[in-house]
């Protein structure tokens, strides 16, 4: 399957989150079911910098991880028949390596390891200034698909 990109408007068809909680500005490259990459710009007046923390602004780790999960979602929701479907997180294992500071760009790379019966297992990495800031193993699901396989109990 070919790769393609999604600008900030096209992205909204595949990612149900909205600003200020949408942690992606642009998907530079996606191959549905395999990987998705892109970035989030981090202007100095981004909503979380003044409060996290006053005088020492940096991107919260939870939001770094959220950006990875949102990007992995795009790798799945761009598959045929998944457009617009909601995804839920199941479990994430995350490590934070470097502070992500205002005025930078948070580069996001995610890869799908498996996509089967409504469950996606994948990995994600976030980079700032060319260095690894965050990495995670993630499991997400599309509940609408997963529930078709569950016992009726």
């Amino acid at each position: 399957m070919d790769t393609f990109s999604l600008d900030s408007v096209e992205l909204l068809q595949y990612q149900p989150n909205r600003p200020p909680f949408l942690m992606i500005d642009h998907v530079t490259k996606v191959r549905p079911g395999e990987f998705a990459e892109g970035y989030k710009n981090l202007p100095v007046d981004e909503w979380f910098f003044p409060i996290h923390f006053p005088g020492n602004p940096n991107m919260p780790g939870a939001l770094q991880l959220e950006a990875l999960a949102q990007m992995l979602t795009v790798a799945i929701t761009t598959l045929p028949d998944n457009k617009g479907k909601v995804t839920h997180a199941i479990s994430h294992e995350v490590k934070f390596k470097k502070e992500v500071l205002p005025g930078r760009k948070y580069e996001i790379k995610t890869k799908v390891n498996s996509w089967n019966r409504g469950i996606c297992k994948g990995i994600g990495q976030g980079f700032t200034d060319g260095e690894l800031a965050c990495e995670a193993k993630m499991i997400i699901t599309i509940p609408e698909i997963l529930k078709q396989f569950l016992p009726n109990k």
Binding site: I90, S91, N116, R117, G118, I119, I139, T141, L146, K147, Q148, F149, L150, P151, N152, K153
Partner: protein
């Protein structure tokens, strides 16, 4: 051969749900926190790998207990 099959079956459940052997026979979907929707798919995937089978969708849905699974596996020529 049959003893080997039951051992393999039990090991899948013990591994998938972090459960001891004495709790297996009465085990059902949603009877323990570990056998939730994700646990269910994990167990199914582990059984498929262990016995080299691919479950049909209806059988995944019908697989609601440890005992039911034993009956379902007969369809795949796995006799426990």
């Amino acid at each position: 051969m049959k003893k080997n099959q039951i051992n393999k079956y039990e090991e899948v459940f013990k591994k998938s749900f972090s459960i001891t052997k004495d709790k297996l026979t009465k085990l059902e979907y949603n009877s323990i926190p570990e056998w939730d929707s994700v646990g269910h798919m994990t167990m199914i995937a582990n059984l498929e790998e262990t016995f080299d089978i691919v479950f049909e969708m209806d059988d995944i849905i019908d697989f609601s207990s440890y005992k039911t699974g034993i009956e379902l596996l007969k369809k795949y020529k796995i006799n426990i």
